[in-house]
């Protein structure tokens, strides 16, 4: 389920105003995307379309950039970001099961955000903590030697 993005006319006007400034300089795409991510909390296709028209850059190209950089997102992110490492070491040690647990507990799949906007689930590539495998992170904080029970407990903690 996707959380609804709040696209109001005021926000769109703000984006236009900021784009106007960015267009004065060369390479307006990146600053525009930063503005959009800040204003809307994400950059969905509707917003990409507006930027595409204004900057004369195709939607596919813009989306390429948006999906390339972890900083941008197409759907709104939740308050807490849970990322489960799917690098080889973690995977071998069972991070798949951890991912499934979170997914099951929160009823979302990878890349999605819970309806209440509390959690977003991400799968990441190796984060360089292979010694602690399997590993997951909540809001950048690393939890090593993770187990299914551990992740359940921690989610419960964040829910309150």
């Amino acid at each position: 389920m996707e959380t609804k993005v709040d696209i109001t006319n005021e926000k769109i006007d703000l984006l236009y105003a900021e784009m106007e400034k960015h267009k004065q300089k060369s390479g307006p795409l990146m600053p525009t995307l930063h503005s959009a991510q800040r204003i809307f909390g994400c950059i969905p296709i509707e917003i990409q379309k507006i930027i595409s028209k204004e900057l004369d850059i195709s939607v596919a190209r813009i989306n390429g950039v948006v999906t390339f950089y972890g900083h941008f997102s197409v759907v709104p992110k939740g308050k807490n970001i849970i990322s489960v490492c799917l690098g080889t070491a973690c995977y071998v040690k069972g991070s798949g099961g951890i991912l499934d647990t979170v997914s099951h507990e929160l009823k979302i799949s990878v890349g999605e955000t819970t309806d209440d906007g509390l959690f977003t689930l991400e799968g990441t590539r190796c984060i360089g903590a292979c010694g602690l495998a399997p590993v997951f992170m909540i809001n950048g904080e690393v939890y090593g030697n993770a187990s299914v029970q551990m992740v359940k407990d921690i989610i419960a903690k964040y829910k309150t």
Partner: protein
């Protein structure tokens, strides 16, 4: 005089122009460095690293497609290290690939498969099941095209081709690392991503990652259906390229063998789209004269290229009133097949399977437009590309090269030189001018209008017709269309008649034509060679002006009465609609 650079490649001394890359230098002495991502002038971003060479005195291996020659350079294109590297890279790609070569659109034109063969690549990575298999994404709901990520090697050629040739940038890389895939933003359905189906991406792709929808099975079934009479039309440009699939040099006219092969496949009736090209000229010519004399919307735009129609409907819907209301020759033929011709043959139109062989991918979608049919049946039931019909001919073991050339049969197959050149940029305008000038001036007018031939993206000319200066322009390829319309909207010049085609070069370079490998695209001027075939046919036909075609005259006297008559409007004209894209709720 260009400066020459002396270098040594694999022990051979040579001198080449200073702007050559090492790859070009090697090519010039017949050393073919492996390559996958390089497509001259379109994609030169060096991301496959298969073209690596060793340059004496430099660390590591360099990509020869992006390394410029230097005085005294000593290059080695093959050694143990290079060999192991190339093999390993290919193995990795193979490990991530879903092989379906027997049914792949690229069975005989896959640059990836050629490399796997050349290096006898092991398939250990797939066999050992080492990697979690890559997620396969299929974008296949459009009527015209499919994106299949399981065949994609992420070379990026399509991304650049779409950007440079269609000017639209519909495709791009999404995400990164092992999750990367190529497609519209977020793999949005292609029919709602602003794509015009020009197929430039398919022509650029080295694999089956992008392809036209495969409709061969429709025809296979119709041929086995005892109730059905299969009537086939063939577009002007098909005969100028089909031979390439059977080993003929680019630019060979295989019209006679093409008809013979269709007959062998079991097609009941063959007609020629060239005939309806002539018909289009009569209808469109009269529409133009009418607009010119009665204050209609000018400039009038031609309407035979569905790639161009897509472009206009999606990006410049405000210019729809400028479009001629004429259907394309394919759809005119379809409408006649199911009415006039059905009656002549005494066949119930619902038992006719109307097949069309086209150099085009967009024609597949055109045929499914809701307005193109009546009483519950479609005017064109199935569109096969030049490539698809070639595959069928091959799969049936028909000895194409040995076939006795044949003429099409039936009334709707006689054509003039004007109909033939419809398949090349400038051809529709030239054909129209041959007829329009003669009608307006009331006397025999010139046949050739050479100013609007050739490959410039935008061609312009002014002709004095019956005392009036008529400003015409000819535009082809998405990038050219974008540039011209921008210009047209700002200039004071009043254009009267503009020909547009969605593909650069026109239909001869359509998205459904035989694939030309990257190496051959660099070596041959494909568009000029294929165009010449159509101009040669034109020069040799008995009649060269559409209105002189005896079969056209008969059609009007027996059936349509006169150009732009009520009946013509009902069967041969159409309407257009504004369209948008990335309608998120439709996803």
């Amino acid at each position: 005089m260009q400066k020459l650079i002396n270098l040594t490649i694999d022990g051979i001394n040579l001198s080449v122009p200073e702007d050559f890359t090492v790859m070009q230098a090697a090519d010039s002495i017949g050393i073919s460095v492996p390559r996958l991502c390089f497509l001259k002038g379109i994609h030169e971003e060096s991301n496959c690293r298969l073209c690596i060479v060793k340059i004496e005195g430099q660390n590591g291996l360099k990509t020869s497609c992006s390394t410029k020659v230097q005085e005294g350079m000593v290059v080695e294109t093959d050694n143990e290290e290079i060999y192991e590297n190339v093999c390993f890279n290919l193995e990795l790609l193979a490990g991530n690939h879903k092989f379906e070569c027997w049914k792949c659109s690229r069975e005989n034109s896959c640059e990836f498969l050629d490399l796997l063969r050349r290096f006898n690549v092991d398939n250990d990575f797939s066999n050992l099941d080492l990697f979690a298999p890559k997620e396969i994404k299929m974008n296949k709901t459009s009527d015209a095209m499919v994106i299949d990520t399981s065949k994609c090697v992420l070379c990026g050629r399509c991304v650049s081709a779409c950007e440079k040739q269609s000017g639209l940038g519909i495709l791009n890389f999404n995400h990164r690392g092992s999750e990367t895939y190529v497609g519209p933003a977020l793999f949005h359905n292609l029919e709602d991503a602003g794509c015009i189906y020009c197929g430039k991406c398919i022509q650029a792709c080295p694999t089956g990652g992008l392809r036209a929808q495969d409709h061969i099975k429709f025809l296979e079934r119709a041929l086995r259906d005892k109730e059905k009479v299969v009537i086939c039309q063939v577009a002007p440009a098909v005969r100028a390229a089909l031979g390439e699939e059977f080993g003929y040099p680019i630019g060979t006219n295989v019209e006679g063998q093409m008809f013979a092969a269709l007959k062998k496949i079991g097609i009941n009736e063959i007609i020629d789209t060239n005939f309806t090209a002539d018909l289009t000229i009569i209808e469109e010519g009269h529409e133009f004269i009418n607009r010119l004399q009665n204050g209609g919307v000018l400039p009038m735009f031609t309407s035979c290229s569905p790639g161009w129609i897509n472009y206009l409907e999606i990006y410049y819907p405000e210019l729809i009133p400028n479009l001629s209301s004429c259907k394309s020759p394919q759809q005119m033929a379809g409408a006649l097949i199911k009415t006039y011709y059905a009656e002549k043959l005494g066949v119930d139109p619902k038992n006719i399977f109307s097949l069309s062989i086209m150099p085009c991918v967009a024609k597949k979608a055109e045929a499914t437009r809701p307005e193109f049919g009546r009483d519950g049946y479609r005017d064109v039931d199935c569109v096969l590309t030049t490539r698809e019909i070639a595959r069928m001919i091959r799969h049936r073991g028909i000895p194409f090269r040995d076939l006795e050339p044949m003429k099409p049969f039936g009334d709707l197959s006689r054509y003039t030189g004007a109909g033939s050149i419809f398949g090349v940029t400038g051809g529709v305008m030239e054909a129209a001018l041959r007829t329009v000038t003669e009608i307006l001036e009331g006397k025999t007018s010139p046949i050739e209008f050479k100013e609007i031939r050739g490959l410039a993206d935008i061609k312009e000319a002014t002709y004095k017709v019956a005392g009036v200066d008529v400003n015409v322009a000819v535009v082809h390829g998405g990038a050219g269309i974008k540039a011209f319309i921008k210009h047209m909207k700002t200039t004071d010049k009043q254009y009267h008649f503009v020909e547009f085609m969605g593909c650069t070069g026109g239909c001869i370079n359509g998205g459904g034509q035989p694939i030309v490998s990257a190496i051959n695209q660099e070596k041959y001027d494909v568009r000029t060679l294929r165009s010449q075939v159509l101009y040669d046919i034109d020069a040799k036909t008995e009649f060269r002006k559409s209105h002189e075609n005896p079969a056209i005259k008969a059609l009007y006297s027996e059936f349509l009465n006169e150009p732009n008559s009520h009946k013509s409007h009902e069967l041969l004209h159409t309407v257009y609609r504004k369209r948008s894209f990335y309608e998120v709720e439709k996803k």
